[in-house]
């Protein structure tokens, strides 16, 4: 057990699975000696060498394809795409190859690979390095999509992703990476958190808040403030994986509270929470005493200037205010 940041927890997960299984290797740009753009793989090159920690040219398309090809022939590649925005350069390999091979081949192959990538804004990286693209991946059958919100989950989910026999998109929030604030006690050694199960991070009875990734943390903060200032008791659900989606945990909660707010960092229009709301509509309409609403980013590229970026992305205050406004309507 040690107090680890989100980044350290993922690194530890990689290190431990690589120690156990020779078939696991890393591939990506500048992940070797340099340790990756965020330093996440730092030290792994020294431990596992250049064969298993493979630096690549700037060739997103083919490195994703390489992961696919090695996965179907018996390896378990872990691929780093430096920023999730760069998946655009290899989207065919994700959506048409990795995701579909099993189905296209009539179930005769499996594609056990993890595509790790840094997601989200809030770090001032501007329009090409800050997107939240989970809705795009979640729409593609054949992929799984994981969005951990804290170090403990990150490690357990990562290990599950590595041992999953399907292509997993593992979205790591860059603001969480090195944050001491969100560091946590994380057990040494292998443990897993199942893909497809959400978790109630804070039980509550007044309103259900569903969130992903960094937004879980912000929602928790908003909940604390509301508890203290207004004795409002929010239930915070962390989806953890959006595909498979644990809709039951959401429905259970809404059944109890009658109210739902979905918080995501992506641009609101066409964002993933539309799926959650639509499923709640279909399966839990009668539980709702108020319309479920979404809190998300505005519909524009992520701006560089931090003033604008902060305005764009849901903040603790915005979440708090929207919760109040939903509750005040009833």
């Amino acid at each position: 057990m040690s107090n680890l940041t989100y980044l350290e927890a993922i690194r530890e997960a990689i290190q431990e699975v690589m120690q156990k299984d020779e078939n696991i290797f890393l591939i990506g740009e500048d992940i070797g000696l340099y340790g990756g753009s965020f330093g996440l793989t730092s030290g792994l090159f020294a431990e596992f060498g250049a064969e298993r920690v493979r630096d690549t040219p700037i060739s997103e398309s083919v490195i994703i394809g390489t992961a696919v090809g090695s996965a179907i022939t018996g390896m378990r590649p872990i691929l780093e795409i430096m920023f999730s925005d760069f998946t655009g350069c290899g989207m065919d390999q994700i959506m048409n190859q990795a995701a579909k091979i099993r189905y296209m081949f009539g179930g005769k192959a499996k594609v056990p690979m993890v595509l790790r990538t840094a997601t989200g804004g809030g770090a001032g990286f501007g329009p090409h390095h800050s997107q939240s693209l989970e809705a795009i991946f979640a729409h593609i059958p054949g992929l799984k999509v994981v969005m951990p919100s804290c170090p403990y989950d990150a490690k357990g989910l990562f290990i599950s992703a590595v041992y999953d026999n399907n292509p997993v998109i593992f979205l790591e929030h860059k603001v969480l990476y090195k944050s001491k604030k969100y560091a946590q006690e994380v057990p040494k050694g292998i443990y897993t958190i199942p893909l497809g199960k959400g978790e109630i991070k804070r039980p509550g009875k007044d309103i259900s808040i569903v969130a992903t990734s960094y937004m879980v943390q912000k929602s928790l903060e908003a909940a604390e403030i509301l508890q203290k200032d207004k004795q409002i008791d929010c239930e915070i659900i962390d989806l953890r994986t959006i595909k498979p989606l644990d809709i039951d945990i959401v429905l259970e909660s809404v059944k109890k509270t009658g109210k739902l707010i979905c918080v995501e960092e992506a641009c609101s229009f066409g964002g993933f929470m539309g799926e959650v709301v639509a499923q709640v509509m279909e399966k839990g309409f009668d539980y709702l005493d108020a319309p479920a609403i979404r809190i998300a980013s505005s519909n524009n590229p992520v701006p560089y200037s931090h003033i604008l970026e902060e305005e764009m992305i849901p903040s603790v205050d915005k979440i708090k205010d929207r919760i109040l406004s939903v509750l005040s309507k009833n």
Partner: protein
């Protein structure tokens, strides 16, 4: 428009590499097997064309007639457990890699016992048991996969080699560049076998590139590359044998441009407005099957009569495959949502 590159005078590259004539030492049975496979492809594709005409092939489908020497020559030169990666025009590669004709035909007409349970169709037939990583509906889509398979060989320290079949026009896609470059810096055991059939759909390769030989692209990667006669199965066999061995010794990758021609239209629907009948006829003079048959007869490996026997057997086999496929059942509806995820 520039003159199409024709076969003549294009195989001079060979000399540079001191490629031995391994073919002549092959066992008779193997030499005959090569002929048989070429016939299988030819008659299989003819049958597929019938299915197209009968409306039983949906969507689209790409025939390999005229290009048989490529798949058969190249695949005969590697081992059973060497991986191949195919592309949209993939039937020939499957047959050369010993796929079952019945299940192939079933797949093509969407039957439940087809190679992909009817889920893939012509553009997605794969056969993991035969080390065939599949066709691909995306031009260039397999070129990363091939790198991955070759990397597996390298990481597992086995001496496997991978052949990645690609079309001439696919070499203009970015993934070609990324793929060959990375294979080169990693010295992967990977042969890019480029079937230059002169066109990508309607577009002559000479108008979508500005170079005479696709194999000249080797210069971008510091690898060996050469242009060969893709309608001569003996040459293909010898060249691939030679370079497969080098690959196994860590001297890959290799870029082989194999000059050939597709006799039929690009796909199911093709007016062929972009080429002349005359051009097609000129290429038919280089019929790879005829050339090989004559070669075998000349070197006394077979008699004309034996060849006829083989041909007859193949025709029978293909007829059986067509019957098998037609009699097979369509997939059950409950199969729709299976096979999306592995456990």
């Amino acid at each position: 428009m520039k003159e199409n590159l024709l076969i003549k005078g294009k195989t001079t590259d060979l000399k540079e590499y001191k490629i031995a004539d391994r073919f002549k030492d092959l066992e008779k049975s193997k030499k005959i097997e090569i002929l048989k496979k070429m016939y299988q492809i030819r008659y299989f594709e003819n049958e597929v064309e019938h299915f197209i005409l009968k409306g039983e092939i949906y969507g689209t489908c790409h025939l390999y007639i005229g290009e048989e020497a490529n798949a058969v020559g190249a695949i005969s030169a590697i081992k059973h457990n060497d991986w191949i990666v195919s592309h949209h025009r993939g039937h020939g590669h499957c047959i050369a890699k010993d796929s079952d004709l019945n299940f192939m035909m079933s797949e093509l007409i969407g039957k439940g016992n087809g190679y992909c349970k009817g889920k893939g169709g012509s553009m997605h037939i794969a056969d993991m048991d035969k080390y065939n990583l599949g066709a691909n509906g995306i031009v260039g889509g397999g070129m990363g996969i091939a790198v991955g398979a070759a990397l597996t060989n390298k990481l597992k320290k086995n001496d496997g080699v991978v052949i990645c079949f690609i079309g001439d026009a696919s070499t203009n896609n970015g993934i070609f560049h990324e793929s060959v470059n990375i294979a080169s810096i990693w010295n992967l055991p990977l042969i890019y076998f480029c079937e230059n059939n002169q066109y990508g759909m309607s577009t002559p390769i000479i108008s979508s590139t500005n170079i005479e030989k696709i194999s000249d692209r080797k210069a971008s990667y510091g690898i060996v590359g050469l242009t060969i006669d893709g309608n001569n199965v003996v040459e293909v066999y010898n060249v691939v044998s030679h370079f497969a061995e080098l690959c196994r010794k860590g001297k890959g990758p290799i870029l082989i441009e194999s000059l050939t021609y597709r006799w039929k239209g690009h796909s199911k629907h093709d007016s062929q407005i972009y080429r002349t009948k005359d051009e097609v006829e000129r290429w038919k003079e280089y019929d790879p099957i005829l050339r090989y048959k004559n070669h075998l007869i000349e070197e006394n490996t077979v008699t004309a009569g034996e060849v006829l026997e083989i041909e007859k057997k193949v025709i029978e086999e293909i007829k059986n495959a067509a019957d098998f496929a037609e009699k097979s059942a369509y997939p059950e509806l409950k199969e729709l949502e299976t096979d999306v995820y592995a456990d």
